[in-house]
Symmetry: C2
Subunit: 460 residues, 2 copies
Amino acid sequence: MNAYEYADSHRAEFLEELKDFLRIPSISTLPEHKDDMQRAAQWVADQLKMAGMERVEIFPTPGHPIVYANWNGAPGAPTVLIYGHYDVQPVDPLDEWQTPPFEPTLRGDDLVARGASDDKGQVFVHIKVVEALRQAYNGKLPLNIRFLIEGEEEVSSKHLDDFIHAHQDLLRADATVISDGAILSPDQPSIVYGLRGMTYMEIEVKGPRSDLHSGGYGGTVHNPAQALCEIIAALHNPDNSVAVPGFYDKVRPLDPAERAALAKVPFTVEEWQRQTGAPQPWGEAEYTLHERIGARPTLEVNGLISGFTGVGSKTVLPARALAKISCRLVPDQDPFEVEELVRARVRALTPPDVTSEVRGLNYAYPSVVPINSPAMDVAIAAYERGFGARPVFMREGGTLPIVATLQHLFNAPVLLIGFGLHDDNAHAPNEKFWLTGFYKGITTSIALLEGLSKIPVKTG
Amino acid sequence: MNAYEYADSHRAEFLEELKDFLRIPSISTLPEHKDDMQRAAQWVADQLKMAGMERVEIFPTPGHPIVYANWNGAPGAPTVLIYGHYDVQPVDPLDEWQTPPFEPTLRGDDLVARGASDDKGQVFVHIKVVEALRQAYNGKLPLNIRFLIEGEEEVSSKHLDDFIHAHQDLLRADATVISDGAILSPDQPSIVYGLRGMTYMEIEVKGPRSDLHSGGYGGTVHNPAQALCEIIAALHNPDNSVAVPGFYDKVRPLDPAERAALAKVPFTVEEWQRQTGAPQPWGEAEYTLHERIGARPTLEVNGLISGFTGVGSKTVLPARALAKISCRLVPDQDPFEVEELVRARVRALTPPDVTSEVRGLNYAYPSVVPINSPAMDVAIAAYERGFGARPVFMREGGTLPIVATLQHLFNAPVLLIGFGLHDDNAHAPNEKFWLTGFYKGITTSIALLEGLSKIPVKTG
């Protein structure tokens, strides 16, 4: 019995096990679920043992534990690292759920539960595939496998980077597989090969020593809230590009071939309007909506606060004003260099009648996974096997810092192989995972891991 | 015994009575002091009865009561309305008080207590002067007197305007006297003849239906926080004037004589810096600091709020952004017209990719009291008698809506005759009233009321 046959004949058992996983309310952001987090980590560890992994270990962190497993029984064969997470989003507003979030419920082709798609269902695909491969390969595997399943993805992966840097030898691989996302549509698989990086900053403008009465001083003081607005307004050009000298210097241009490939995945204005509800799009006119999100850097205001913000009126002339801003970055921008460019620009824009400060808060490198590599060819073929269609390549606007971290550390491709759909309600009520995607995902993963067992080996 | 002699010989009693008044913690903004507010109103009413007023009445309002009193025994003589307030500011931070705020304490020439200067001490001056005049005039007064002592001045005089409009016949007067402020310096009395009006608004900019992930949409949505900053930045011209078409159309120009008079009361840059702590002044370069505050209209940002404003970072693309803004107005600007001008300007500045709304919250007319009138001549002479110096004329940047209300209703001068000093800590810990000012104020008030008894009569 090959792995596909094994998986096909165990669909019912797999589904029941996944339901068990989904019944654990492993909400990482809520302290009252601390025990559930331990329980979920233990459940994953037990599953990995049952699947046949050699070493299975739950590593404590200052936050929620990381589950690690490996099987190193194929010397000379490639090594693949599979990353995922067992924590889930909170469930509020609870009254919008049609069934209880931690009582997995089948509704047509959908399994409805918090975490079904993000990310328990997708993590579980690979665990079951390892089990199927071990059966097919007489208790062995055709390649070396490492699992890294964290419990803090929904809380910014707070302790993941430290863990990765401290345990490079345990994690080093010829390719990494991450299944924590969606494909373009049920019939059209897609591979995300570009993710943006980030520099998150706050700008503070200060004027008078303390809040003043706007009657007693208004007209003689450069109002810090106004000065902040003037600075922020000057951070974009009339053509909507970012007005920070040097900002685009390291942006890798989109070549015509890549633009043509991205054009196959159009983000139409109608769809954009349906999703955002905003009057009309904005941005760099010479780039498509897909390109603006995935392939162009941005500078966004994430928050503003100054003075009186309650109901009604208070005539304060505020002493200070604060903006949270973040730049989404694309290769080859460096998040720390961008911070310095923004700082220099804000300094140049700050008039002598106020002071300003730019403070860096968070940094992530952008990443682009080369789409021409043996590993990527395997991924394409695996999707064709699983979904019957050749995947399209997409760039996404979000940031997944682990992608850049692993690329930098191991110089190996990171394959973003999602099995969910965009309407899975990943962070909303009535989250679901389509069972067709679950089973096609298993087929895809078998093809992927069998294929990756034949790529050139770099790891020792 | 004339009134001056009576007052001089009763200094000790007056001081003890004032201490009684100051012991009542009549903090209008704190619900737990509701009974104290009643007690303070009753105390004022009792004092007015003892001083010899005929009709004394405590009018309830939806908030704190208004104390009204009159003496109409001088038919054919002028009528003067005296306005003040018996409520006081909160006392926090309490630990910065050197003595308990409601245990009046003498420290050199200063009587330290919450409300000593603002406004109990100054209100009390006039009550005692009426008592002195009644003694001097054999139980009568040389003119008709009306008192309007409210309990909500520190909470925006919420119910005062309704009361005034409903009781015009009780309040009509040939002049109004308000003692609720400071003179320029101990040796230099001053009369405020100009106060700014106000239009308080909020501007809301909306973009997407709900907050978006800045990674997933950033670069395609006109960020409402950014759009708000762009609008606010465009509300001032490079020369720091207000960039709202029509805004200055009704501003009464300062004539050379008035500018020369204001120049006698310079607000130096050094003093401005000492008071504000800001790096350097800002504003309309062709006007002095005193003129910018007192004689020029402004547009100030009082508050900003949008998106994420907590500690750390959250990559939200906010759905909306709100600014509180207020225009300080000078004669002959109309607060409702200014609202429409700002609304039109914001509408013109709003690009088609967001929406905006301007909502009016508060309105007050500006006021300028003519400095050439029989009543003002009396005020000048009264200060000369009380302080031994001719008062200078000042414009202040704040707003005292009752001034414009009374001017509009009764077309009679409003005399802003303060006895406090600028360092009285009116809204801060260790508020005090200088006893020299208290006694000189009594002398000034006697001269003022005796003088006003001889001005032309307009009231019926």
